[in-house]
Symmetry: C3
Subunit: 289 residues, 3 copies
């Protein structure tokens, strides 16, 4: 049995064009995240674990823990209960276009779906997930009940069910995910398929494609395609992406760079444009512990 | 000086017959508890300690720490201040009929009394407790002021004072507790007496008797008697109890089993019936760390 | 990368004369403070750090973390961001007249100014500070924006800017601090100058002088002078101070004593009188971990 504390800190300047009337476009944006993990390995080799997270972001007034996640692992198979990681949020590649010290990208899926809640979460939200890893493959399943205490969920609300898989073979990685009634919205079926290619030790390119489903009102969120690449020379990694979403006026883009400071710390910056032509930029430090 | 984090996680299925209109009888019930303990031993051998607890249960939206407990210990004598363990809640045997992965029993005292608050507690609640251990005996004293900031408590509210003792000699253990104005309710005097006998290394039986006092409105909560036993063979322990309370229509009962997984983890289940004939059942895992 | 938990606990009796109608003059006053510090040292020798504090005081109902402080340190130079320590609050000598197990003194500055928030803090409060240490000297700079999200702060509210320095040479220590628009109140400019002399290994005397600025309504808070001394013999340290503030009817005073218990624990008590002639007293234990 052991308890460990891990996480990361990040801070820097964040610029958002046209943030809002009376608002400052540039602020200092920061996050401190502590994960507290407790594990116990039974005589038969099953590892039971539990995680609690304390996260503080700029704009918060205090720091409270989130809801707990419990897990049991054995031979590459892990079952989790509670505030679980969902299949759609866990699969490989989907966040690979992110950049800057805040690891953000307009190329991330614009769909609504459940994910691990880092901060205050909904009451009575209950998830169950399973992952299995073998060779270069990972399989993901997740089930979330938005309110497990009621015998019948309200009209328009449903359980979310997600499946996903990713596989790496040599220089290629492929990933796919499908989630029905995502975010508990009836009829909000979403999908992701992605592929990446490691050209050599230094360069990677990839393409992600999303069916973003619908809003609670049934409005189509539009399909989305994101192409990205990165190149590392010495301590520096440069990154770029383009993302296009149906019906949006502009193509989103981003260019960024990381400079590795060693021991899990890096200086990162990016300039990104959203689907409406507004520019965002960030420059700051992130360090893991 | 050192700081340690300990606690437990538990999760599983909980069934409660007739939980309520529109409610699901079966839910996933879980708890994650972290105790953070800091201690310092002075040159003279007095150990000062402080504890904070962070507990998350199913249905919560977040996790906050409780109020602090401070202690000073020397040669078996411990004085605590703040969010203290009370005599009635600390004495041996009183919770021995509990079973299942949630350690619950309808045979526990139905009385109202103050105890250590694991989560958000009342403001200005202030306790002082003392315990003394010698040979096979433990003595307990506790005092709780429901609101230490006022010079006069409201009518009907009083300080709670509790005393208790337990003693083990060979195969026998006896325990008794008395608390006046329990839970700060004037006139709510409650009592407990219990005895247990270890038949051999594997089998135990015991009897607990409670005077459950009165409600704030002066209604008698009824005397209660609980008989229990358990038997261990290999990694399995089976448990059973019967509890009878004055004026209640049914006799409460429980049968349960634990299967030890090693390293402080166990699989446990129980089927229990309450004083009104409703059935409850649980099956799940608990692991300590 | 490492994560450490440190802090202190303290508890004891606190008497305040004329605490208020219907209130108890004597209560048990306590505090438990946990600091969680994470640090990572980069290859170039820069140390990144982040701190979160969980503090519980008597009268609280629960314990939540405060807002995060981030820092980067190199060769005696430290820059911090977020919930920072301010220059006026960090400079040497200013709190040297404190005594009792609660480390309090009416001789502390009566000015209003920003400082590190140990508990729930204001939203969108953002500070930046820098300190530099060399030889026996420390230089401090701090900047606090009460609300970094708005492009224009409300009328009467401003950023706080503070500078301070302290220097120790042999038996002498001197310190000074100046803060403009302290606590974000336009026109609330405050100052501190202090000097201390170590007569020998056992005895110290000092004088602190404060310009306490104004209230938000423009009322002068009055200049204040505090003279203090302490003397150590064996495990015992006796302390005393006198403080005078313009326009107040009485001279504040304090006499106190600490008894060192070893390993960072002490028994401390004090009797103090405020500027209106009311007496306060405390007696309790504090232990660090």
């Amino acid at each position: 049995a052991e308890v460990t504390i891990s996480g990361y800190g990040r801070f820097g300047a964040e610029y958002v064009e046209n943030r809002g009337a009376g608002l400052s476009d540039t602020i200092i944006s920061s996050r401190l995240r502590f994960n507290i993990d407790a594990t116990t390995e039974t005589d038969a080799g099953v590892t039971f674990g539990a995680r609690l997270r304390f996260q503080n972001d700029d704009g918060d007034v205090a720091t409270v823990g989130n809801n707990a996640r419990f897990s049991a692992s054995f031979s590459g198979f892990t079952v989790s209960v509670g505030n679980v990681d969902t299949a759609f949020d866990s699969v490989a590649l989907t966040y690979n276009s992110e950049m800057g010290y805040q690891d953000s990208s307009f190329g991330d899926s614009e769909a609504a779906f459940f994910a691990y809640n880092s901060k205050v979460g909904p009451a009575n939200y209950m998830g169950v997930s399973a992952t299995y890893s073998f060779g270069g493959a990972n399989l993901y399943f997740s089930y979330v009940n938005p309110d497990q205490t009621v015998s019948t969920l309200p009209v328009g609300i449903s359980e979310e069910i997600g499946i996903a898989a990713d596989y790496t073979a040599g220089q290629f990685t492929v990933a796919a995910a499908f989630t029905s009634d995502a975010a508990g919205i009836v009829g909000n079926d979403i999908a992701f398929i992605g592929a990446a290619y490691a050209i050599n030790d230094a360069a990677n390119v990839g393409l992600n494609y999303y069916d973003n489903g619908t809003t609670a009102g049934g409005v189509d969120r539009g399909n989305q395609a994101t192409i990205y690449g990165n190149y590392t020379f010495g301590a520096t990694t440069v990154r770029a992406y383009l993302s296009d979403r149906e019906n949006d006026p502009d193509t989103a883009y981003g260019i960024g760079a990381d400079y590795a400071l060693g021991e899990g710390a890096r200086l990162s910056g990016s300039i990104q444009g959203d689907f409406n032509g507004n520019t965002a930029a960030d420059l700051g430090v992130r360090f893991n512990f």
